[in-house]
């Protein structure tokens, strides 16, 4: 429900804020959307926070967080700036280091667990069969989603001449499809719901392929809206049931040892 509303609002609101060109700042005020959201969350958490039952993570593993941030940055920064700057030497050197970075992070987290400390990511949560593949699927589907939104937004504005707000509103059918399936999948028969994480990416991919065929040089509203609803539905079917399945595989005892900042949610 929360994810569905977030996806629904974020995409459309982002386009509207950019299109409004607040204070002549162009796209930049879209980033400030995090400020009221963060302040609201702080207020809500202060009112509703409950003491954890049983052993829970109480201290942030700062060294682990630093290692992970460095490893992620070493991958992301060369990927973002490499092509623009014709792949300078620092990009070529940093990328392999970043790819090896997660291995160093895992080694450090193992040492924290062996020393009886509280790791950023409790690796014992990854042991049950199917968990690693499930997390990989979550990673892939979220990466595919953001790449699709990024690419289609550029195509709508750069290729079809849409304004930022019109491009944001073009995603409304997608968010509707995502919201409907996110809210309805739990009512499906168990046998059908079990297959959703497999059928979802297939529907998502098929809808994107069909969208490619109809949205080359124009944007026919009915057909693109229908396909975006299907793509959003496929995205939700890929993610929400899989996340629930992962929680079941890990089990409550192990999940309690995982800190909230290390969940696979986007």
């Amino acid at each position: 429900m929360v994810l569905a509303v977030g996806v629904a609002c974020g995409q459309v609101l982002g386009g509207l804020i950019v299109g409004a060109d607040l204070f002549g700042l162009g796209w930049r005020p879209a980033l400030l959307l995090n400020v009221p959201v963060g302040l609201t969350l702080l207020a809500v958490v202060r009112r509703t926070r409950q003491e954890p039952v049983g052993p829970a993570v109480t201290r942030l593993d700062l060294a682990g967080a630093g290692l992970l941030a460095a490893a992620i940055s070493a991958v992301i920064v060369p990927m973002v700036f490499g092509r623009q700057q014709q792949w300078p030497a620092w990009c070529v050197l940093l990328l392999p280091a970043g790819i090896r970075g997660p291995a160093g992070f895992v080694r450090y987290e193992r040492r924290v667990i062996e020393a009886g400390g509280q790791p950023l990511l409790d690796l014992r949560a990854l042991r049950p069969p199917g968990v690693r593949a499930g997390l990989a699927a979550c990673f892939l589907v979220m990466g595919a989603y953001t790449a699709f939104v990024f690419t289609l937004t550029l195509h709508l504005q750069n290729g079809l001449g849409f304004t930022a707000s019109r491009a944001g509103l073009a995603f409304a059918p997608y968010t509707a499809g995502f919201a409907i399936v996110s809210l309805a999948w739990t009512r499906l028969p168990a046998r059908t719901a079990r297959l959703l994480p497999v059928l979802g990416p297939v529907l998502f991919a098929a809808a994107l392929g069909a969208l490619l065929a109809v949205a080359g040089t124009r944007w026919p509203l009915l057909s693109t809206a229908t396909l975006l609803i299907c793509a959003g539905a496929g995205h939700a079917a890929s993610f929400s049931p899989l996340f629930a399945r992962l929680a079941g595989l890990i089990g409550p005892a192990t999940a309690r040892r995982c800190p909230p900042w290390a969940t696979p949610a986007p």
């Binding site: 199917g130 499930g134 990989a136 595919a144 750069n158 290729g159 079809l160 991919a205 392929g209």
Partner: protein, 59 residues
Amino acid sequence: MASAVGIAGLGDLYPATAEHAPALSHTGLDRAVTAIDVILAATAICAAWTVTRPRKDPR
């Protein structure tokens, strides 16, 4: 991290093709969506592996 890698990796296929050439926009979209579809196929395989694993008894 998935979002950042998705945009920087797959999403970059569009600007690499059509950033300064709106006429090539559909080609850029075509390349990016093809790559995304490959990733989604890999997702379906990973998900199939997960849903066929026995569920741990929550008790």
